[in-house]
Symmetry: C2
Subunit: 377 residues, 2 copies
Amino acid sequence: MSATADRVARAALCRLGEPGDPRLTGLVAEVGAPLVHDRLLIETDERGLASDVAQRLSALDPVSDLRRAAERGIRFVVPGDEEWPARLGDLDRAEPLAGRGGAPLGLWVRGPLHLAETVERAVAVVGSRSATSYGGGVAGEIGATLAKQGHTVVSGAAFGIDQSAHRGALAMRGPTVAVLACGVDRAYPSAHRQLLDYIADTGLVVSELAPGCAPTKLRFLSRNRIIAALCGGTVVVEAAIRSGALNTASWALRLNRTLMGVPGPVTSAPSAGVHQLIRARDALLVTNGEEVLELVAPAGEHTLVEPRGPERPHDRLSLLDQQVLDAVPVEQAAPPVSIARTAGIALPRVRDALARLVAAGLVENGADERHRLRRGD
Amino acid sequence: MSATADRVARAALCRLGEPGDPRLTGLVAEVGAPLVHDRLLIETDERGLASDVAQRLSALDPVSDLRRAAERGIRFVVPGDEEWPARLGDLDRAEPLAGRGGAPLGLWVRGPLHLAETVERAVAVVGSRSATSYGGGVAGEIGATLAKQGHTVVSGAAFGIDQSAHRGALAMRGPTVAVLACGVDRAYPSAHRQLLDYIADTGLVVSELAPGCAPTKLRFLSRNRIIAALCGGTVVVEAAIRSGALNTASWALRLNRTLMGVPGPVTSAPSAGVHQLIRARDALLVTNGEEVLELVAPAGEHTLVEPRGPERPHDRLSLLDQQVLDAVPVEQAAPPVSIARTAGIALPRVRDALARLVAAGLVENGADERHRLRRGD
């Protein structure tokens, strides 16, 4: 089986059925594309007629397909190519989801980067098309932070969260990959033609659908598995209860990728799906790009120090000194004996404590040994 | 050891040191209050002088204390009393936290309810004093939902989240318990005098501090352990990175109570502490009172059906029918042969699928067998 025969067979098969049809991807993974292609070509139904599959296969011209694509700067990357991301093989070992599954037969790719290298450190940032400005802002921040730290942002080029994530990465001149549910020569949504062209100029636009193919609902589901599989982790920024982003999240879990979710107000419908992922599906809560990096970067590369409030002088006091400090008046200065009474501690120990508190700058010692809290600390 | 001697000894000891001093609570748990009391009374230091503890103890008059409290409608509930919540015993088995620990020596109680029965089903709802209106709204909703379902809302009567939680419960005429860091005869904050009086009329106001005692920072930390211990679970609604509510959360974890957190915008400082609890301390994310109930109610009593979007007719379609439906035009009706071409499926199967889709009301079959999507579904 020559590499070329395999590529041509895959190009033909990928125009044949729907992408991610597990019957087809499973068969190809098992016996190889050329054999599947040749068998299907001679398939007949019980009446001896060529099956619909055979009819369609014989009408295809994959060699011209590949040539025309190449003329337009589109390459067809298949398993065995140096550029093929090994990670996609995980799809062949995972159960289908919502009727879709298996590694793509190949990926049509537009853009100057090396696909396998580009996704070596890649995070998917996905979410609702009807994102809020809050969600868009967080997606943009995460995209930018990932890019700044040399990680690739993978998303679906849709309205809302997807575009914010891509744009965040682009703003940092970082690599970003748009995975489409249509041919890489098409712009969907059409309002994102410029964005997609810009990504194709600097990053990668990728699809398992042959050039010219239109997006359909099923193709979005199929596409989502590729977004999840290309990346070490997936962040869902906003997703309503019925968002397609939750399908990407399910794929991330199924592929043992790190699944992360950004919370939002519990009163915000676009955050409800994310909250459900964290509540019921063990997605990890993240609040910014640094936290994402901590979870997806190789161990030790990004270790976060948990945020703490500023340390204040009395944080390090002994319990005794804290108790005495609590008993020192704010306004009207008081003598040690009165402070000792308030604190319920014997006078000699109170005197010692007051001396330490004065030395620490927390207490003022005024006339007649009267003490009060020092202002403005 | 008579019940009265024990109660009197506890009343004396609770005025002696700071509440939740683990040296005192530990000793009492081990050998009993009367013995600790009598030993401390004769304690001398190395110079043969009465220790500060002994000096203070001999100056106390716990019998009058108890009588005066009773005259003002305040009872002192101690272990062994029918009203004593057995749960508080968990504090004696837990390690101290921030220098505080152990079961309270007793609880001073104001209000008409039976303490043990009232907290049998109780949830702590706590959070930031500087809550946002978002946080206050969520705390109120959770308080109301818990109360409506017969659960007691326990909190600290502070500004912000605490008061919203109490008020939510009160609005449903549900039981609510305020645990104070000062005597139950005092109002802290003073702006909450009416609220506290109302809680004392219909619910319970509780403190381990004897009447008249003032609140201090240490006493708030000490109080938090009682809030956590009285309840089966603790919900943190809003808490900045350095909020006292996080101390209550730590107690809930230490006592193996269910710890829950309400998320908010990642851009909101008062939610940062909660997000950290969920991220790093395994707090469970909850978004409303029903979800809290599901986690704290006895198994099977509150089982939530996870929210789903409304089911739409095509959710139940076979994959084939979905593929055909995807290929049916929205505007310009098309004949089966053209739909078959778009779908990549043989004509006879497309005809069958179209018939099913028409029967399901999803597709219109117009002139010349031309099909298009049915509007307004």
